[in-house]
Symmetry: D2
């Protein structure tokens, strides 16, 4: 018997996810560098789908191409290295609020310095960018974008360092935050990571050529071999003589962002030497221990809840089933169905698999809960498909604090766990029970005995409020100092 | 340690799937019928992604819109019922070889009869269409498409029946094959199914309005309630006075196509009263009993192998893991990467999850094996990720015979199981063991005690060679009678 | 001093022109026939800009491509003969009300007959098409388009003639009206013209190959040599053995449409052996004699009024000046400026050349006056630019009767000269004097001594009401017989 | 008799024209400023068709939209002021070598200064831009474009002036060349012109609002009233308090570019108080006196040769005829026909009107001769159409020297008149006689008694070699100083 619900609205599970802002990629020393960059960016597509760009150098001339949309829609109908010749390439995927800034802010950014052309791509956020920018503009510097990345170009341009590596090191010593840079001049490639290693950056090789990428899955895509992570506070400069390493911050401490494991990285990536998929399964395993549930079936919220749900199932022996089916042929324009359709209660992207739900006690496992709005819609869909009970588990701890290092996240007042008790959340999600993994459990899943509260092994402020760096622009803004000088909206 | 393979070529798991040719949908008696049709077709998108079309009637004027591509790319940026007004709508999704016939063959087809305008959409294949067409052309009839569907319009047009239902019944009595039709005049909707019920067609209701669809998931999408299946050989005619049923073939026997369970239908659909997902899990369960494997991990070939792999895992207790990761952001143009990229060994759509594979004995479970070429590529990818052993299981029996009822499938000489022994296939797939579900096992998974060889419960000729109907055009072609009158290639 | 008017609305001089419905082209026996067809249609683009299509045959397979829009936007980025191979090609330009019928009605139309594939393109109108269609539909014939052209295909298909030429001759003997056909089978090309030669069709050669076209400028474009006009009522059949001619109507009389000279044909075309440009200049010369004006300057309404204005100027010695400037860079979307812009009184396509107008007595010369609405806007623009007096002359006689042979023209109640006296029109156009060429003057410009009222040398019913053929569908419609069987709107 | 030529290649008369680089427009104080800007730019479209852009301010936020292509294709399908709100707008049309620099160089350029956002658009060329840029980059300034315009932004940004007008005046005092600027901050609009008034800039009003434009035809388009020209060396600053005028160069001398009359300006524009159309007619009149021709017919090279040809005809009484017909429906892709088509000798854009040419002595009148290549093709087309003799006249003097003030012109070695004698040119053009207007004749046509060689009334270096300003970058380049720092090619 089929009886469809007609009251709920469409569920876009991606709508309430946290979003990474960027993926970066660089390659030095291959014939068709732009093709490598396109493939690497494609492998990193999950880190940003709004815009993508590549810049190359053939030793004399720079070429660049930047687009709104997916790598696979923009860079491979024809061989991109025909349009973008050169043996050096850097590339960037971006998540950004659609239509707000247009192509001006799509990276790599390029500028002419007195040492020649310079291009840069950035994952993360510079927490004192606006403060630096304000001071530079006072001196007559011109800014073309609203991107914090442009600050870095100005600092390099104005540095009195004797060569590029001096200048680059001098520049990043002036900035704070979580960041990974790949940059290039006409004959060298640069990689750099913040002093806590908050944002990831990896080094790999293809034969005698070097590759830089945000995640190891990009190396798999282009057939590169993983060498090592760029160290916190390290700057590497690669040219035809090989690679040199500079220490920008002697007292750097490794403290990578734990969200790479919880949500951002692809499950087949290896981050900080750990399989993301395995960590997520362990999160589900520990979740089962911490918050058991007396249910008939475990259903993951697709797709990122799957490993934790498998871990929960394997720990408890309760069957794992695909109770939510994803429509793979959504098409573009379905992203904005008309109001009339919304009112019809249509679910264009996901549907309940009634046969696994009807009459059963269901446990939903998701990687995290952000605002909670989508979770409620999912719960209602499961109930409408006939579940006897619905329980909910988050494979990460409650998200109580916003990020300031490049993660797109709602403000504190929108974070459900920041504003409500567990019982209030259970009531809002309309579930029979609700549970979160503990911070301790998360560290256990990471393979740590426990969190070292004096020197935490990971950047985990979203769960703990413990920010590793000062937040200068943020404090200035709270003190009434503004966030932006002028406002330009460029229509794409 | 990450060490990427550089020799294999790109794997498109969809490349070697069997493909359904169509999904159909119809609705009578709602204000914005085209919007219902767009949603219903979206839910049926898995049945055909090459083209889609909708025709409506507002009681006087017909409106139609047909496109190459997905429903979600063509029918929902704006409300389709604004462009296609009316309270009756029929729609069609099509799989077809891209670019061969252009829009001429995109359905619904429309023609003016002496009783007024008439539109029709069709899932399946008329096995004597060319024979009938040849005779009609001799008499001066004009054909606009290469579609067998158009034959049906001519038969209705030339029938001397006193009204539309008489004419339609008279027409389908002249055709053979496996088919489901939804058709419409300016004030009525028709549904019909072949005398074995080979192709599916279901009846549903939204309040007082009627809905027809190939699968129940389309009812879920539009909030319709499932009423019953259209009977084999039944013609239903729906107008503002309600629904009347006509029996076109008194001696009809129910024998639906078993491939709806094996591959075509969405897992959340209910077909012939059975949950597709559950049947597939039972196929995996029985497969485990029939062809056990001594392995460490069970990995489904995504996405259609998942339920059988879960069934196999639950039957054996061997862990189920996502060992193959799908890239959800493939983009359009990546469908045709340049040769240079292929040579780089890139895998744009799927990648191996090394942490679940390395050093392990792996069992791959897929829904079926058609040509075997993709299976071999997957096996190589799993081996390159470090598997100690690779075993392969097909959750359906060996496919030995081609279809002639609307399923797009390679010819007999391309079907691996039709040409090689089990051991030869094992060798070709480069696996340590290979196993298929038996035909008996398949019937068991369907809930039958056994196959009734005198009157099989399902159309299963692909496994057994037992075709339920004569194949007149096919015999004529084998006798040298040709397949087509003239040839027109329309550039889209 | 510049002082722009702000009250008038935008002037699109093309808006109030009469429009031809089609141009046709055919070529037999060249390697890349589609390229010839694309060029020929480009030269005939002035005869229809809404849609264009080409069909080719390579001796076995037909290829076709049909588009909305210009030839130059659709057929020449790449070599069209790569997509459309073959040594025979026919093509068609169409004027039609945008969006009403979609691609279904874009020609060439193609169908499979019992003698093989058949494609046809048509300029003109069959005045008994609906009557024939109604009878055929009663017998079960299927129509795919709303085009009268499709009737011709059915008549050929149903003919019992022994070969194609028999069938084609038999078919056109059943139809009435003004028409020129180019048609093709897989190995021959056909040309035919109605029994009065109302619509034009010319025969040319390129080396040993034959070409058919509506106007001689298409021959100039492809380097073909003009041979002769197809005779009224003649059917020519061209295949690899050469050309044969058939007489479909033994008593055919030559009476070509005089509007080809007044407006449709390109000024550099030779029609019926006469230079169109010269005829138009003679119209202006005679106009000066018949309706003199005491003015300072003669200004043509661009572009079709230019030759008559030059003729008027040369006859009188009054200076000819470009007083209206055309903007050549209008762009596509300017065709539909927003209402807000219209209210601003903008003139996107034309502007007044104030220095030639201010303080002067101006004579505007146009080729004809249809509804008069645009003429009034032009007059206002000239006055706003400071003219002391504005006089208006039409280089053709008053248009009092609608066409029924393929010319797109407003209905009788919209034709200003059909409803108002000369003085009323002068008042409506807001001019100081108004004059039209006489019918006698028009015949004089054509080089005739006088109109032969018993057997007029030209089809001139728009001026005289003297229609050469019966108007069967029109009479049937006036008697309440309807115009169409059913209605389908296809969204493009 | 029609006999088409088959040897000549396609003629694109525009191919060998001189090209202006820009048109600028600005408006302050209207509700929907972007709509005014779109219309104004449309009227100025003849000054640049490669790219267009608009920037607006609503008092707080800037909005901008920049495109490759025509205004009418980019700015008016929807009301541009909905996307670009604000009461201030500046806009720009650009001619540039297609695809070289991409959108980076499309104006208006925008930057954040310490006084807030600043946008600027520029017609002309700064002759010491590279020299200034090199010095600024040495100091760490960043450049985003290759445009000389960006130098102006840096000079304003770095000025220590107390307010915007001070800074702007200070900035332009550092630059040399021929230029007209329109610029804006969030609450004011600026207009400025070089100290010789080489490039044009006019001031107009709409009610109480101010308008700036390169030509008066833009005022006509938007219903604005012409007030006066901006003076040479004047800077005007317009805000809600009204307009203030600043004198940047006290010793400025008016010496506008004479090419505005010869070719650039629209014939209906008033430049320096003179009707462009009238000046061009006088050029033809004087040309007839200086270089008479014994011919039967005068044929203009369309479209810019028309007024001079009319002047020649009226002076001599020899008939003016349209002997070259322009195809108005060329379409986009025809711009690049395949080589196969070129070899066929097709003329897609123009054709000869044989009836006015055959057997006659023809005089062709064009506005100027640049390289002479197109002139030769036209002559051949006229001869192929049967002319008995062909004579050629240029309504401007021989072009012997390149421009350096923003006109896109071939280098000196490509200018035919710079390299060959009159008789050599006559031979190369294959004509029976050839004549140019004298410099004295040109000044007479302008209404001057004679050229004042000590202080020429117009900038006429292309004819005389007399450049009004130093050419610093040019000299530096000739001395080996380079033209550009680094090279970036942005793929659009």
């Amino acid at each position: 018997m089929i009886d469809a619900p007609t009251v709920s609205t469409d569920i876009d599970i991606e709508d309430d996810r946290i979003r990474e802002e960027c993926g970066v990629f660089g390659v030095f020393g291959v014939d068709n560098a732009a093709s490598f960059a396109a493939l690497g960016l494609h492998a990193l597509q999950h880190r940003g789908q709004e815009a993508c760009g590549i810049a190359t150098s053939d030793g004399e001339i720079f070429h660049t191409e930047r687009h709104l949309g997916l790598v696979g829609d923009n860079f491979t109908g024809d061989d991109p290295s025909e349009r973008l010749p050169g043996h050096i390439a850097i590339g960037h995927n971006r998540y950004s609020t659609a239509g707000q800034h247009g192509l001006r802010d799509v990276q790599p950014l390029y500028s002419e310095l007195n040492i020649g052309g310079f291009a840069i791509a950035h994952n993360g956020h510079i927490t004192n960018a606006f403060t630096i920018k304000s001071a530079l503009v006072e001196k007559g510097a011109l800014f073309q974008s609203t991107s914090d990345t442009e600050v870095m170009i100005h600092l390099v341009a104005r540095s009195s360092g004797k060569d590029l590596s001096d200048r680059f090191v001098s520049a990043i010593r002036q900035i704070d935050g979580g960041y990974a840079f790949v940059a290039m001049t006409k004959d060298c490639m640069i990689g750099a990571r913040d002093r806590f290693g908050i944002r990831p950056l990896l080094l790999g090789r293809i034969n005698h050529s070097y590759v830089l990428a945000s995640e190891s899955c990009a190396f798999d895509m282009v057939g590169a071999k993983f060498i090592r992570e760029i160290d916190p506070g390290e700057v590497v400069v690669i040219n035809e003589d090989g690679m040199r390493s500079f220490t920008a911050f002697p007292n750097a401490i490794k403290r990578p962002c734990i969200f790479e494991f919880v949500y951002f990285s692809r499950p087949d990536s290896i981050v900080s030497g750990k399989s993301v998929y395995e960590v997520r399964k362990r999160m589900g395993q520990r979740l089962a221990q911490e918050t058991p549930a007396d249910v008939d079936v475990i259903i993951p919220v697709p797709d990122s809840g799957v490993p934790a749900a498998l871990g929960y199932s394997q720990e408890t022996g309760i069957p794992f089933e695909l109770g939510i089916i994803r429509n793979h042929y959504v098409g573009r324009t379905f992203i904005q169905p008309t109001q009339g359709m919304r009112d019809m209660g249509v679910r264009l992207k996901h549907s309940a698999n009634r046969s696994m739900i009807e009459g059963k006690r269901v446990l939903l496992v998701d990687d995290s809960i952000v605002r909670g709005t989508t979770s409620t819609k999912i719960v209602r869909m499961i109930k409408a498909a006939g579940a006897k009970e619905v329980h909910f588990r988050s494979a990460s701890p409650p998200i109580k604090f916003p990020d300031h290092y490049g993660i797109d996240m709602p403000s504190k007042d929108k974070l459900i766990a920041s504003n409500y008790s567990l019982e209030e959340m259970r009531h809002m999600l309309e579930v029979d029970s609700l549970g979160f993994l503990s911070v301790e459990g998360l560290y256990w899943a990471m393979g740590e005995d426990m969190r070292n509260d004096d020197a935490p092994q990971y950047t985990d402020h979203c769960f703990t409020g413990d920010y590793p760096t000062p937040l200068i622009d943020r404090e200035r803004e709270l003190a009434g100092g503004g966030k932006q000088l002028s406002f330009l909206v460029e229509v794409a």
